[in-house]
C-alpha cells in the first residue's frame, strides 16, 4: 500500500549501522492497522522499534508519522522521544516501581502538562478500560504479569499516541495467562485508531495480533504479507519453520468449526462466530489407515508436496482442509509417502489455537 502525503499513517525507511550489523527495513502502516515485525532473536526488530520511538537515531533513511518528519539524518531532522506522539509497551513493561498503577498511567499525561487531578481521573478511566480499576492504587510489584501488561498498555495509550509500539508484548507471560492476555490485547488494538507496530519472535502472537506481517532476518525484510499469505507460502527456512503454521478462517458453532474452503475441525473449548484456527505442522500426525487414537480431528488427503528441511520432511496434503505436516524422514519411508499417495492426517483438538477473527 502507498500512503498519501499527510495521511495519518507511518512511513519509515529504517537504516541503522551498528558494530558489524546493519538494519534496513521499510515499513508502511496505515491508521488502525497492526503490523507485526517477526523474526529470530537478533534480527534487529527491537532496534527498529527504538528508532521509531526516538530512543535511537537513524543512520540513514527517514521516518514520517502522520505527515510529520520524525527522523531524517540527511535533512538533519531528529525529533527526540518526548516530542514524538508515540507510545511504547516494553518487553518487561518497565512500570515505574515507585509509582502506583494509576500514577504510572497518569505519568505521561502529567509529563505532557496535564494537571495532577485531571491526569489521575483520566488514568483511572484508562485502567477501567483494561479492567483494572480496582488495582489502581497497587504498586507494580504486586501485579501479576498479565495485569502489569495491561497497565503498561493503558500507560502507553493514555497519551493518545499516533503510533503504538509493542516490544514482545506477550513474551514475559506464562502459557496459561498468555491466551487470555493475547485476545484482550487484540480487542484493545482493534479499538485503537492509530498505527501499531509490534515485534515478536512468536509467529502465533504475530498472526493473532497483526493485520500484516513483515518477516525480518539478519536486519533485512525477507517476506511480508497477511498472516495467511505468509503462513501458506513461507519463503525462507526460518519463516517455514516458525511461521509455517496451518492457519484457517472459519465459522464456529460450539466446538465445531466449518473451515472456509471446505472441511470441519474440532476445538478443545467451545467458540462462537468467525474465528481463526492455527496449529503447527509438527502437531499433525500422518497415518496410512484411519487412525484409532485419541485425536479428534481426522481427515483424508493426497500428498501434494514433499520437502526436506533438515531431519524433518514437510508434507503438504491436498485435503479438506489443506494441511501441512512435519514428519521424520523415517516416517516418510515407513508410510511410503510419495506424491499422490493417500494418507490420513490427525490433530488433537488441544493442539489447535482458536481466536476470534
Amino acid at each position: 500500500m502507498t500512503l498519501e502525503p499527510g495521511s495519518p499513517g507511518l512511513d519509515a525507511e529504517l537504516v541503522v549501522d551498528r558494530e558489524g550489523f546493519t538494519l534496513e527495513v521499510s515499513l508502511e502502516v496505515g491508521a488502525g492497522e497492526v503490523l507485526a515485525l517477526l523474526g529470530p532473536n537478533g534480527a534487529g526488530k527491537s532496534t527498529a522499534l527504538q528508532c521509531l520511538a526516538g530512543l535511537l537515531p537513524l543512520s540513514a533513511g527517514s521516518a514520517t508519522l502522520a505527515g510529520r518528519c520524525l527522523d531524517d539524518p540527511v535533512a538533519g531532522v531528529f525529533v527526540p522521544a518526548p516530542e514524538r506522539r508515540v507510545g511504547m509497551v516494553f518487553q518487561d513493561y518497565l512500570l515505574f516501581p515507585h509509582l502506583s498503577a494509576v500514577d504510572n498511567v497518569a505519568f505521561g499525561l502529567r509529563a505532557r502538562g496535564g494537571g495532577r487531578r485531571r491526569a489521575r481521573e483520566q488514568a483511572r478511566d484508562w485502567l477501567g478500560r483494561v479492567d483494572l480499576a480496582d488495582l489502581a492504587d497497587v504498586r507494580p510489584a504486586a501485579l501479576s504479569g498479565g495485569q502489569a501488561q495491561r497497565v503498561a498498555l493503558a500507560r502507553a495509550l493514555a497519551t493518545r499516541p499516533r503510533l503504538l509500539l509493542l516490544d514482545e508484548p506477550l513474551a514475559a507471560l506464562d502459557a496459561s495467562t498468555r491466551m487470555q492476555v493475547r485476545s484482550d490485547l487484540r480487542r484493545h488494538l482493534d479499538a485503537y485508531a492509530g498505527c501499531t507496530v509490534l515485534v515478536s519472535h512468536d509467529p502465533l502472537d504475530a498472526m493473532v495480533l497483526a493485520d500484516r506481517l513483515v518477516v525480518v532476518e539478519g536486519g533485512r525484510v525477507v517476506q511480508q504479507g497477511t498472516p495467511a499469505d505468509v503462513a501458506r507460502a513461507p519463503r525462507t527456512d526460518y519463516t517455514a519453520r516458525l511461521v509455517g503454521l496451518n492457519l484457517y478462517r472459519g465459522r464456529a458453532q460450539g466446538q465445531s468449526v466449518d473451515v472456509e474452503g471446505g472441511g470441519t475441525l474440532t476445538t478443545a473449548a467451545p467458540v462462537v462466530g468467525e474465528v481463526f484456527l492455527a496449529f503447527a505442522p509438527s502437531a499433525v500426525a500422518l497415518h496410512r489407515d484411519e487412525p484409532t487414537g485419541s485425536a479428534r480431528n481426522r481427515w483424508r488427503g493426497r500428498v501434494a508436496g514433499l520437502e526436506q528441511r533438515g531431519d524433518t520432511v514437510r508434507v503438504e496434503l491436498d485435503a479438506s482442509p489443506r494441511v501441512l505436516a512435519d514428519v521424520t524422514v523415517a516416517a516418510v519411508a515407513a508410510l511410503d509417502l510419495t506424491l499422490g499417495a493417500s494418507v490420513w492426517a490427525a490433530v488433537k483438538a488441544t493442539e489447535i489455537a482458536c481466536y476470534p477473527a
Binding site: A53, G54, L55, P80, A81, P82, E83, R84, V86, G87, M88, F90, L94, F96, P97, H98, F107, G108, A111, R112, R155, A156, T159
Partner: protein
C-alpha cells in the same frame, strides 16, 4: 587451624568496645550527658555533621551523576581524584584546606582581602573539613546506585513525553533514593567522627569548633568520665548507622 586466629581477630575488634561499655560510669551518665560541656560538644557535632551531609548531597549527587553518566576524556582520573580523601590521612586534608582557604591560602587570601572573610577556626571550617573527608562516601554510593539502576526506565519515561529534567526528578532520583540515603548515612557517620582534618583546619574552640571527637580527646586528660560518656554516644550513633544500613551491608556478604 584457622579458628584460633579467627577468634583472636574477633576479640581484637570487639573487646575494646566491650571495655568501653563495661567501664562506662553508667550511674553518673545522665548528669554527665546534660552537663554544659558535653551538651555543647554534642550539639555542635550534630549541627556540623548534618550541615556537612547536606553540603555533600548538594555537591556530591551531581558529581556522582556526571561520573556515572557523562562520557568525557579523563573521567577515570577525575574519579580517582574524587576518592583521594578516602585514603588520605585526615590531618593532611586539614593542612591542604588551610593552604587553600587559610588567610594566606591560594583562595583564602582573596576572600580575606576582598570580602574580609576568614574561614579557618570557624564553625564553617568544621563543616568544610567534615564535608571534605566525607563526600567520597556519598559520591561512591550514589554513583554505584546510578550505575546499577535500569536506564530503560528513563527511556520509558521519555517515550511518555517526559523531558530530561522531569525524568531526573520523577524517575531517576526516586529509583536511586535507597542508594542516596545509604550514602548520606555513611557520609554523616564519617563527618560525625571526623578529627584530624577538623583539628588542623578548624582548631578546638569550645562551642565553635570543638566537636565531640575533639572533646573526647581533650577530656581524656582533664575529665575521663566525660570522655567515656561522649565516646558512648558516638558508639551508639555508629550502631544506629549499622542498623540503618543492615539490609544493604550485612546481607552484602552473601551476594
Amino acid at each position: 587451624m584457622l579458628l584460633l586466629p579467627a577468634g583472636l581477630g574477633f576479640a581484637f575488634l570487639v573487646l575494646p568496645l566491650l571495655a568501653l561499655v563495661v567501664r562506662a560510669p553508667w550511674r553518673a551518665l545522665p548528669s554527665l550527658l546534660v552537663s554544659p560541656e558535653v551538651g555543647t560538644a554534642l550539639r555542635l557535632s550534630l549541627v556540623c555533621a548534618t550541615s556537612a551531609t547536606l553540603l555533600c548531597l548538594v555537591l556530591g549527587v551531581p558529581l556522582a551523576w556526571v561520573l556515572a553518566r557523562a562520557d568525557f576524556p579523563g573521567r577515570r582520573l577525575v574519579r580517582a581524584l574524587v576518592t583521594v580523601p578516602l585514603v588520605l590521612p585526615p590531618v593532611v586534608g586539614g593542612v591542604a584546606l588551610l593552604l587553600l582557604l587559610g588567610r594566606r591560602g591560594l583562595v583564602g587570601r582573596y576572600l580575606d582581602a576582598w570580602f574580609g572573610i576568614s574561614i579557618p577556626f570557624t564553625t564553617g571550617a568544621v563543616i568544610i573539613a567534615e564535608a571534605f573527608v566525607a563526600m567520597p562516601f556519598l559520591v561512591i554510593a550514589v554513583e554505584g546506585a546510578l550505575r546499577s539502576a535500569d536506564r530503560r526506565y528513563e527511556d520509558a519515561a521519555a517515550t511518555l513525553g517526559a523531558s530530561r529534567g522531569t525524568v531526573l526528578r520523577t524517575i531517576t532520583l526516586p529509583l536511586i533514593a535507597p542508594g542516596i540515603s545509604a550514602g548520606a548515612v555513611l557520609c554523616f557517620a564519617r563527618a560525625l567522627g571526623e578529627f584530624g582534618a577538623t583539628i588542623s583546619f578548624a582548631g578546638s574552640f569550645p562551642g565553635v569548633t570543638q566537636t565531640t571527637p575533639i572533646a573526647v580527646y581533650l577530656a581524656l586528660e582533664s575529665d575521663p568520665p566525660a570522655a567515656i560518656a561522649l565516646s558512648l554516644v558516638l558508639l551508639g550513633v555508629s550502631v544506629l548507622v549499622l542498623v540503618s544500613l543492615r539490609d544493604r551491608w550485612m546481607t552484602g556478604a552473601s551476594r
